[in-house]
Amino acid sequence: MPVAGSSKVQILHMYKEFIRNSNKIQNYNFREYFLRRARESFRANKNVKSPEKISELISEAEKDLGVLKRQSVISNMYTFDKLVVEPLKKR
């Protein structure tokens, strides 16, 4: 990753927050979607070099992360039965 040192760590920490919070979404389809989108968009922007573009992407991601955090809490407040493709136990 050509991103400068401190911002690379910052981005990785942000990615971790995206994955953790997406994992907490109760609804199967929404969980899988936000995991997929986090993976795709971080990877798609892997080679972005311009510092302006990077800081723009970071502030956009911060906004999205706020939405994700709120919505993952809400999804735990009103839950539904699991889907037929969802294992009931994790292990």
């Binding site: 760590v9 971790k16 927050e17 993976r39 892997k46 809490v73």
Partner: protein, 121 residues
């Protein structure tokens, strides 16, 4: 039963201090009290190997030991490594502090951290 609950109490207060420990359903914590909080290194290694196998199918064949490096041996990039560590966190019901997670580069280092962490189960 009470003994195990009280033993788990420090773990619970710790979670509340974490940034994103806000949706831990409490009953799932309760169901894991059968396990001792001190796990053997072998057991930890086996469970991490299982996590890696379900995380990345290509690694299933490769034998995973303490020496296995995430990037060099498993071919994971920095984003993959972050994701793998989150899966390992979920497996052991702990959260690596950012500073620790940034330094974990191999299965062995991860095993060491978990085995020294009394909250892992």
């Amino acid at each position: 039963m009470f003994r195990s609950v009280f033993r788990a109490a420090p773990a619970l207060t710790r979670v509340s201090g974490m940034r994103s420990g806000f949706v831990k359903p409490t009953f799932s914590v309760a169901s894991r009290f059968y396990a001792s909080s001190t796990l053997s290194k072998d057991e930890i290694t086996t469970r991490i190997a299982d996590v890696i196998k379900s995380f990345d199918k290509t690694a299933a064949a490769a034998s995973i030991t303490g020496e296995t490096q995430f990037s060099k041996d498993l071919g994971l990039d920095s984003l993959d490594t972050v994701e793998l560590l989150v899966s390992i966190e979920e497996e052991f019901d702990i959260e690596f502090p950012d500073k620790v997670a940034d330094e974990l580069k191999s299965v062995g280092e991860t095993v060491d951290y978990i085995s020294n962490n009394p909250e892992a189960n």
